[in-house]
Amino acid sequence: MDMMPLEYRAWLGVRTRYLTRVRAMMDGVISSSFSSKGILSIFIIGIVLVHAFPGVVLVMTPHTRLTAWMLVGEGFFGWTYLTSGVFSTFIFLLSAGITSNLISQDLRNRSFVIYFSRPLGVTEYLIGKFGGTFVVMSAFCTLPVLVNGIMIMATQTGPDYISSVRILLLTLVAGSFASLLFIPYGMMLSSLTKRKAYAGIGTFMTYFSLTLVGEFFSASDPNWKLLNPMNVLHYSFELIYGLGLPTDISPDLYVLALIILLVPTTIITGIRVKRYEGAV
């Protein structure tokens, strides 16, 4: 194939504002997540197993309004929705799946330099990666719960719409919290290894082992339950919906567990990526 050499052509568009670059980073994460077969499968199976069934049951059950109890309590026939182990397990799986490639990809390909030689700082890079993951997680943790909530409201027989709307708003908060809680740890592991598999399996196995260890020791002291990230999530749901912490759990230790999940992980990720900013 012999082609006429093409002359270089200019691009005459106008540059976007800097914050738009963060949007571009987020979109990158979102589109690569949804184009990964693995993540997409977890997502779809999760929607069916976690959200579809409780949604149908709650809508079918006679009710006068949407209550917190329907979402986080021991629901009908003794089974639960947001506080079920199935939901948490899918949150673990999904966040491990998305975060595993988030930074390890750039370590593996030495591609930090093509980000950081552009108008993009380490903070914008991290916010973009985090934000993209958060959007995908929200599509799993928040959106379907809101849809279920609205369906329940649509079929409610009582007149108390105000309190139903309040629960809906709390659901937005709870879903967002669930979406972000496990991202920092996954991002941290992803910034520590070039191997996507190590980061993904490592993240999931950490949650899984902590769950086992936490449950094992909780017989001696209930506060051990805080070692189980699933419980941290469930207690947070209960707090957000105004049901309060279980009385045998120390609030200080609960806050400590939250801090451990969010703060050191974020700092380590920041330090790791910062190292690659100029020294490339």
């Binding site: 050499p5 568009g13 976007t16 571009a24 390909n109 330099v113 980000y115 030689s117 108008p119 700082g121």
Partner: protein
């Protein structure tokens, strides 16, 4: 005189103890600028300083009037960078990669896809652009690296060893692309070890060695030299040629000399008249067969300056 686009003064850059650039002062105009020097000369380091990836410990820098480590983000809207080593994301195809990085460089989402295709057409990537970069040869990757550097149409480009790892045809193609981009009024800084490549591509030359400036100026001036150079063929008895050659080497600056049979081929610095050269040959019992002013190659200039520098 062309306006200065890139200016450094007394630039000093270190990596811990190691001094990578030392008291470097440059004034570079628009056009294609060849950045030459042996391994470890500081070429890549200079480029990193100019785009604000590395902060110097001393001296001043201005790129299009901006200080790279102060107006970093703003400056980077105006630069494109092709790093020297592999940095592409293997799991992406070039269309996705180039449009993604176009957006990060400030392009509207709607613009990026057609623009990605446009620059991929320009660098000469065909249908393979829908394949993941992980399956690419080095030459193809170099093209994608160039494409991601020009997608947002920056007025200043930094290409760090763009022909590295390519076969001769690929190199030729890459140099043509660079020339075509250079013709559009951009400033294109191209680093290389390959003197002959730079000689055919660049308009302005910077030669570095161990962090210091060896030579800088318009290519034409460097090739012609500040002074006169000649190339001459002198004939005569072989046993007379050798002493003459030794005499020339001892007395003048000789770039190269070779005796084949009864011919001495010499290229040297000569500021005197032709007559003087002819009579000198006659004094040694020899004849001048050919005498002409010599345009040296960049390689001559390079090695000469290099020897003087040491």
């Amino acid at each position: 005189m062309e306006p200065v686009v890139i200016k450094t003064k007394g630039l000093r850059v270190t990596y811990d103890q190691l001094v990578a650039l030392d008291s470097l002062s440059l004034s570079l105009p628009r056009g294609i600028i060849g950045l030459l020097g042996p391994n470890g000369a500081g070429k890549s380091t200079l480029i990193k300083v100019l785009i604000g990836l590395k902060k110097p410990v001393g001296g001043s820098v201005s790129v299009k009037g901006m200080v790279p480590w102060e107006q970093t983000l703003y400056l980077r809207d105006h630069v494109g960078y092709m790093p020297e080593y592999d940095c592409l994301i293997d799991e992406m195809n070039p269309v996705t990669l180039v449009s993604h990085f176009g957006r990060i460089s400030g392009m509207e989402k709607g613009d990026t896809v057609w623009r990605a295709h446009e620059v991929l057409d320009f660098v000469g990537l065909g249908e393979e652009r829908y394949r993941n970069i992980g399956t690419y040869s080095t030459g193809m990757k170099q093209k994608v690296k160039l494409a991601q550097a020009i997608v947002h149409d920056p007025p200043i480009l930094f290409l760090d060893e763009p022909t590295e790892g390519m076969d001769p045809l690929g190199k030729e193609e890459m140099l043509k692309l660079i020339k075509r981009v250079g013709k559009t009024g951009k400033t294109v800084v191209v680093s290389s070890h390959q003197l002959h490549e730079i000689e055919r591509t660049a308009e302005h030359i910077v030669i570095l060695d161990r962090g210091k400036l060896l030579m800088e100026g318009p290519l034409k001036k460097i090739l012609h030299g500040e002074e006169k150079n000649i190339r001459s063929i002198v004939i005569g008895e072989p046993d007379r040629l050798e002493p003459f050659r030794k005499y020339l080497k001892d007395t003048y600056q000789v770039f190269s000399s070779k005796i084949i049979g009864n011919e001495l081929n010499v290229s040297m610095k000569w500021e005197d008249t032709g007559n003087h050269f002819f009579s000198m040959a006659v004094d040694h019992g020899l004849q001048v067969k050919e005498y002409r002013p010599h345009i040296r190659s960049l390689e001559d200039a390079f090695f000469l300056t290099f020897r003087e520098g040491k």
